[in-house]
């Protein structure tokens, strides 16, 4: 397994290289020009050209890619065109928020979605199953920003139990930290909770029809033990896959949640950078996030082996 992990880690290098070049190319065919944004309202065409030259944007595409890749190899993600701060500093300022938000959202999604899916499968066709499916369909269809505002209105403005917006690091106190994460994490998790519940139900239904499950019930084992130890473990491969994909989707979905709750996360950093065409920041963040996606996929692949020893790569 370790050799396999090492091999897969090495294989991520060319993947990241392709991602890096693709990101760079896509950005440079997108309309917009940071030089004109920097130059401002009073700039003449000559001013804009001078700024383009200073930023190196007038150089041929291959030269720009080459320079950027050579810096990446040295571990330098570059500097924001606008703020002048290193991209790594900007990512460092924002990473904790997005990591905590994603982890909490995933915890809630899995913690609620998996049991709901198991219960719905176990009681297939019952009112419980229907309630869970109605929840899953509506949760999946609900716009994140709408749910966020409803939760803010109910729990922050009307009840006054939780803050409306913002992020507080854990160093400022555990409750302050948690209270600022509860509403965003719940908002972000609902879609994935629904997705995981549906996937778990479907997967469990396939397993519950197996002979060994009938045998387990016939032996008189408690339903809880049968469901969790025998059925869920064997139904978990598709669920693990969807959780892996969910992590990637959560990072993407965090953009909206971070905007609604004014959280200083990577999602907003990316959107702000795109709006301004701050190329080094966009490239840096996308590269880091792509790296995280690749690692999550690796972790999912390793989990497959752990959950089902028959799997070989």
């Amino acid at each position: 397994v370790f050799a396999e992990i090492l091999r897969r880690l090495v294989a991520t290098i060319p993947v990241m290289g392709v991602v890096a070049i693709a990101v760079f190319a896509l950005l440079h065919v997108t309309p917009g020009d940071p030089a004109v944004i920097i130059a401002g309202d009073y700039a003449t065409t000559e001013d804009i050209e001078r700024i383009r030259a200073r930023l190196g944007l007038d150089r041929p595409f291959h030269t720009q890619v080459g320079l950027w890749l050579s810096r990446i190899i040295r571990g330098d993600l570059g500097t924001s065109i606008f703020s002048g701060l290193p991209v790594s500093t900007l990512i460092g300022q924002r990473a904790a928020t997005t990591i905590w938000l994603t982890l909490f959202a995933m915890l809630i999604s899995v913690g609620v979605g998996v049991p709901l899916g198991v219960l719905a499968a176990w009681r297939k066709g019952s009112w419980l199953d229907r309630v869970v499916m109605v929840f899953a369909v509506s949760g999946f269809s609900m716009p994140t920003f709408w749910l966020g505002f409803i939760l803010v209105y109910v729990f922050a403005i009307t009840a006054g139990w939780l803050p409306v917006q913002g992020y507080q690091p854990m160093a400022g106190g555990l409750w302050r930290f948690l209270s600022h994460l509860i509403l965003p994490a719940v908002t972000l998790s609902v879609v994935y909770m629904a997705l995981i519940a549906r996937m778990t139900r479907a997967s469990m239904l396939g397993v519950l029809d197996e002979d060994y499950i009938r045998t387990a019930f016939a032996k008189g084992l408690a339903p809880r033990g049968v469901l969790v130890r025998h059925a869920l473990k064997n139904a978990s491969l598709p669920v693990v896959t969807i959780i892996g994909i969910g992590f990637a989707l959560l990072i993407g979905g965090a953009v909206v949640t971070e905007s609604v709750f004014a959280l200083p996360g990577l999602g907003r950093l990316t959107v702000d950078a795109i709006v301004r065409r701050d190329y080094p920041v966009i490239q840096g963040v996308l590269l880091v996030v792509s790296g995280v996606y690749v690692l999550i996929n690796l972790v999912v692949d390793v989990l497959y082996v752990v959950l089902d020893p028959r799997i070989r790569y």
Partner: protein, 531 residues
């Protein structure tokens, strides 16, 4: 901008101070200390107010930096860092002496050489500064506290230039920073203003933190605009950037922030219903909307086609679509701010009364060949989006074919800089807005520049305008300047450098425990206290 009499200034600092103290409102009793949480109009990404014209950077700079002169709420220029100043009898040499006790945030004393470097850098970037620079001023330090500005050609509004309130404001920086090329950002934020920038707490896209500068020595006069005594009552100011308006509204209602700089107008009724909140008009001069034709390409390289734009104009229609709430807008048929000293109706008859018949006739006479007019439609800013939609309707009604090109603001910035023909990525008409302070008189107003390639996007080549603007800045008599400004307006509207579509004001909102907010074009944080 004010009609400044040099004689007023020659009267000396003491007389000025006494007059200001009598005329300006008194500062009320304030609570000292506390942190004020402020939702800014935009995210502060650029820190150098000379490098960029962005209003958010200008607003930031008003906390951190100080100016030689300020503009009070009556639009009069008043000394700020300057203690005494005078001008030679021939009006060619100005002498400025700095106040005692001025210190940079790094602890060094402010000296004349710092101001010399700062002015030199500013004159390379700012439109008003460039006009001044074209009159060959030699700025030199006479001693540690005194510097002189010696003109090679007459330039009337020297003090207006040094005290101009909007971008680029001539903020003073230490010489070591001001020596940075005007094309590069300064690497440090070291000012001598009433607040210090907390660099370690700056998170672009989230927050900016300022702390009170304990070493700041305010003037003795009452505060008024960016002039007078900048007395700080707050310990700390935190700017937050909230991209979602609903979030900012909820945060203000819940007491998580204290002051929201520019709430969208549709949020105002709800804010006004909340007994803990108040609204306030900080800049009654407001903002002017523009329709700008591109003079380089057909059909608007033809004067008659451009004049059709003036005859089709119905400011009420634009303002309703763009702003919507009538108490926040007003038709204004002057190219200079309607509540400013150079407002005029000269040459604005066609602008004041829509005449679609005449507009249609002008389109025909222009020889318009039926090619589609590319109208830039910025979809992520409701105000200019509304204006573009009205333009499409009106252009269609007078016989133009219209191609509304939808894009976001950032793409618009790139597109508008293109001189290519519209069918090759260029444009025919765009819409934008400028604060009244930026359209106050010919020396700051970009819309009336006729400098061709050197003019603002749209590039009108109208040499007569440039001659009149030069005459304006060389005039020293206020009456003559007023007359020249009227001439500028007549030519600008006749040649249709641009078409103004009215003025509007934007209220600010704050919790009622915040007091002392001053009227000005930018949010100012001195004199403000929080209970």
């Amino acid at each position: 901008m004010s009609q400044l009499s040099r004689r007023t200034f020659l009267a000396g600092a003491s007389a000025t101070a006494a007059a200001t103290a009598l005329a300006a409102p008194r500062a009320h009793a304030q609570k000292r200390g506390g942190t004020l949480r402020f939702v800014a109009q935009a995210d502060l990404k650029i820190l150098d107010p000379v490098w960029t014209t962005a209003y958010i950077t200008r607003n930031h700079a008003y906390l951190v930096y100080d100016t030689l002169f300020g503009t009070d709420d009556k639009l009069q220029i008043r000394p700020q860092m300057v203690d005494k100043h005078g001008v030679s009898k021939d009006g060619m040499k100005y002498t400025f002496t700095l106040r005692d006790g001025l210190k940079w945030h790094d602890g060094q004393a402010v000296v004349a050489e710092d101001c010399v470097e700062s002015l030199t850098r500013w004159m390379k970037k700012d439109r008003f500064g460039r006009l001044l620079a074209a009159h060959g001023p030699k700025v030199t330090a006479a001693d540690r506290k005194t510097f002189t500005l010696e003109l090679s050609e007459r330039f009337g509004p020297v003090l207006e230039a040094l005290g101009k309130p909007s971008s680029n404001v001539p903020f003073m920086m230490p010489a070591r920073l001001a020596a940075t090329s005007a094309d590069d950002q300064v690497k440090e934020v070291v000012g001598s203003g009433p607040f210090k920038f907390a660099k370690d707490e700056w998170q672009p896209g989230n927050q900016v933190v300022y702390v009170r500068n304990a070493d700041y020595v305010p003037r003795s006069e009452a505060p008024s605009g960016s002039a007078g005594g900048k007395r700080v009552h707050l310990d700390k100011v935190i700017w937050r950037w909230m991209p979602d308006h609903a979030t900012a509204a909820a945060a203000l209602a819940a007491g998580e922030v204290d002051w929201w700089e520019i709430p969208p107008l549709d949020f105002i009724p709800k804010i006004e219903q909340d007994p803990s909140l108040a609204t306030f008009l900080p800049d009654p001069l407001g903002t002017q909307g523009w329709l700008r034709p591109n003079h380089l390409h057909p059909p608007f390289n033809n004067k008659k086609a451009r004049q059709a734009l003036v005859y089709m104009m119905n400011q009420e229609m634009y303002l309703q679509a763009a702003i919507g709430v009538s108490k926040y807008y007003r038709p204004c048929h002057s190219v200079f701010a309607c509540n400013g000293p150079y407002a005029s109706k000269a040459g604005a008859e066609a602008l004041a009364k829509q005449n679609l018949e005449r507009a249609r006739l002008l389109v025909k006479e222009s020889g318009y060949d039926g090619r589609p007019i590319t109208v830039v439609h910025v979809t992520d800013i409701a105000m200019v989006s509304g204006a573009a939609l009205v333009t499409r309707e009106l252009l269609s009604s007078i016989g133009f074919k219209v191609d509304l090109k939808a894009m976001d603001w950032s793409t618009n910035l790139a597109v508008r800089a293109k001189k290519d023909p519209p069918d090759k990525g260029g444009w025919n008409i765009l819409h934008t807005w400028w604060m009244a302070a930026d359209v106050m008189h010919p020396a700051v107003h970009f819309g009336v520049s006729g400098a061709g390639p050197g003019a603002w996007f749209g590039w009108p080549d109208i040499p007569q305008l440039e001659k009149l603007i030069t005459a304006f800045v060389r005039a020293t008599d206020p009456g003559q300047r007023k007359q020249l400004a009227e001439e500028v307006q007549k030519v600008a509207l006749d040649e249709v450098a641009y078409v103004p579509w009215g003025e509007y004001v934007l209220p600010t909102a704050h919790r009622k425990n915040v007091s002392g907010i001053l009227k000005f074009i930018a949010p100012l944080f001195w004199n403000v206290s929080i209970a």
